[in-house]
């Protein structure tokens, strides 16, 4: 593992805990989807947990987050409660978007979590706009914008990269490059498959790294965030990762081989960190058991909370299309 330097055992344990929270939370989501408690599209990030986990650790509550439809982990690590997220997946009023958004649209004003966006590439201009507002208001905040490599093909990616650098906006672009956009492999969709080089073509400082190495991501994000706070403009991180599960619950995965998936599973960021900590004598089975137990308790509690949640009355159907008269 690279550049562990500034990380203490506690912070490493926390990274491990957070990744496990996401993993277990999403495993529970699969059950609940099969039980038809969760509906619509459900996109899981098994295998990709290191990226949002490390990123959130480097950001402050003052910073802003923009994510995609594959954002359970981002919201969870950002601090949105498992209860509020699970209730949202159930479509209950107690959900973080009052049940209106569902899995693809998690929002939380309290956490400056500006949402999960389900139009690929659609969140990028919004992130740049959030950053523009911070800059115009003289705030030293960073907006972190997460997106998949598939978004790099969209015109909005191009337009946003140019404007972010042209106006030196405090945005951290984090590309979660899991090699596939639904069933389309990167080399079938990009003439230049080096995503981080694309960002450089707009003069944005850019780096490609192993997204399965939470410590490496942590170091890179900390460096990038520091540079952005210094006012030097946007930064771009391409995190190479892999989606262990299907794109969504409807995906037969005809486009990749079981072998390929198994190969990548060997690089699973969670055991990878755990083993490394063990070898370094920083993790004992008891620690892991404790974490797993805490996580299980948290998730069971979240499910109970969601189950007990309430359905918004049909009479309120047209609410939130517009602001409600301040009362």
């Amino acid at each position: 593992m690279s550049e562990k330097l500034h990380l203490t055992r506690d912070s490493l344990l926390d990274l491990l805990r957070q990744m496990l929270r996401i993993r277990r939370f999403e495993e529970k989501c699969v059950e609940l989807y099969q039980a038809e408690k969760i509906r619509g599209f459900l996109h899981l990030a098994n295998g990709e947990e290191a990226i949002c986990t490390a990123a959130m650790a480097a950001l402050t509550p003052d910073d802003a987050i923009v994510a995609t439809y594959r954002e359970h982990g981002h919201a969870l690590v950002r601090g949105v409660s498992a209860r509020a997220i699970m209730a949202e997946l159930y479509g209950k009023v107690e959900g973080c978007s009052r049940g209106r958004g569902g899995s693809m649209h998690l929002f939380s004003a309290a956490h400056r979590f500006y949402g999960g966006y389900a139009i690929v590439g659609g969140g990028l201009p919004i992130a740049a706009g959030l950053a523009l507002a911070d800059k115009m208001q003289g705030k030293k905040r960073v907006t972190a914008c997460f997106f998949g490599e598939g978004a790099a093909a969209e015109g909005e990616f191009h337009e946003t990269m140019n404007l972010a650098e042209l106006w030196k906006l405090p945005v951290l672009f984090i590309c979660e490059n899991n090699l596939y956009a639904m069933g389309t492999r990167l080399d079938l969709s990009e003439s230049e498959t080096d995503i981080h080089a694309k960002a450089q073509s707009y003069r944005i400082p850019s780096q490609s790294l192993d997204g399965m190495d939470v410590v490496a991501v942590d170091a890179a994000v900390n460096r990038a965030v520091a540079a952005i706070r210094d006012g030097s403009g946007p930064q771009f991180l391409e995190c190479k990762t892999y989606r262990f599960r299907a794109h969504s619950m409807f995906d037969p995965q005809l486009y990749r081989s079981k072998e390929e998936v198994e190969e990548w599973k060997k690089r699973d960021p969670i055991p990878r960190l755990a083993n490394w900590m063990r070898e370094a004598g920083m993790l004992h089975d008891s620690d892991l058991q404790k974490i797993e137990a805490d996580v299980k308790a948290e998730i069971d509690d979240a499910v109970a909370f969601a189950e007990a949640g309430s359905w918004e009355p049909v009479a309120d159907l047209t609410r939130h299309a517009h602001a409600e008269a301040a009362s």
């Binding site: 049940g99 693809m104 139009i119 639904m182 609410r319 939130h320």
Partner: protein, 324 residues
């Protein structure tokens, strides 16, 4: 006769067209290796190869515009935009180019392009994945807009569209893909110029299209139990509208309810109501009523999504409202 789903019918239509005309090819996101986001094109890559079943990057505007260019230069592209929601990214190409090139060029260049896309709500996909914008497309001169609601039309409209010298948009409602039924072994091209009376009736005309057809037929069935004999008109084509069939039905029943999954304000249902006003006002025994989607982005929870969309009970209530 064999058992088919709407999805199968749409796939057969593509296969058949690819086999009959070497100029036809399919281009869109995940139409190949993934098998199509709604599995319509499953197996076609293996059958026709990557030259004719083209997976594209996430570049709706460019691959739609490329479909226009290819259509202007001897090919017959079928562009698949996964869903109408994403077609907003390609709207400049569709409206400013596909719909205008023949006119701007004084008739010299045509764009025989077919664009297929899924439309509609009902799968709890929430506010960014549940639009029904086919009615908006029907506002644009230069375009034709088809909304197959039956297996026959899913199977037969594509070929007819491909013979059209101008751009044709085909909207496949997401809730219809799993609809199954039988299809004649020799099922093939169908005309796209006429609406279809799917149920004969004398008391009221229920005018609808696409995913709402089946809810409307269900409502008509319910109404018959209480002695109301509803006629159900499936528009099939939203542009150009078949005024003759619409007015024929309304003049006969003297009452009409329009069922449209578009948001009420400015939906195609408004145009139909306005045309009835203009062409058949004196035949009416009651105001034309509309059952449309609520004026709100589609919410995720099932109960709210159901409430946001036209449903049989609301259709029945609307009919009773104007029969009174």
């Amino acid at each position: 006769m064999s058992e088919f789903t709407y999805r199968d019918a749409a796939r057969e239509a593509i296969r058949d067209a690819m086999k009959r005309d070497a100029r036809v090819f399919l281009m869109g996101e995940d139409v190949g290796h993934y098998g199509g986001c709604y599995a319509v094109s499953k197996g076609l890559l293996e059958e026709f190869g990557p030259e004719r079943i083209r997976d594209t990057p996430l570049s709706e505007s460019a691959f739609t515009g490329m479909g226009i260019g290819a259509a202007m230069n001897g090919m017959k592209p079928i562009v698949e935009i996964m869903t109408v929601n994403f077609s907003l990214l390609a709207l400049d190409q569709i409206i400013n180019n596909a719909a205008t090139i023949r006119h701007m060029s004084g008739g010299q260049f045509g764009v025989p392009l077919v664009i297929r896309m899924a439309t509609g709500a009902g799968r709890q996909l929430a506010a960014q994945h549940s639009h029904s914008l086919e009615g908006f497309y029907a506002h644009i001169p230069g375009l034709k807009v088809l909304t197959p609601a039956t297996l026959e039309d899913a199977r037969g409209m594509l070929w007819t569209a491909l013979q059209d010298p101008d751009p044709v948009l085909i909207f496949e409602h997401v809730m219809l893909y799993n609809m199954s039924g039988t299809l004649a072994a020799d099922a093939g091209a169908v005309p796209i110029s006429k609406a279809a009376v799917r149920r004969e009736g004398k008391d009221v005309s229920l005018i609808t299209y696409g995913g709402s057809l089946h809810k409307t037929l269900a409502a008509a069935g319910e109404l018959s139990k209480s002695g109301i004999d509803a006629e159900v008109v499936d528009l099939r084509t939203l542009r150009p509208l078949d005024d003759e069939t619409i007015m024929g039905s309304v003049r006969k029943t003297r009452r009409a309810v329009i069922v449209d999954e578009g948001w009420r304000t400015g939906s195609i249902s408004a145009e139909i109501s306005a045309r009835i006003m203009e062409q058949a006002l004196w035949s009416l025994d009651a105001p034309v009523a509309r059952v449309c989607s609520a004026e709100v982005p589609i919410p995720y929870p099932r109960h709210l999504e159901d409430a946001a969309l036209p449903q049989a009970p609301a259709i029945i209530a609307a009919v009773r409202g104007i029969m009174a």
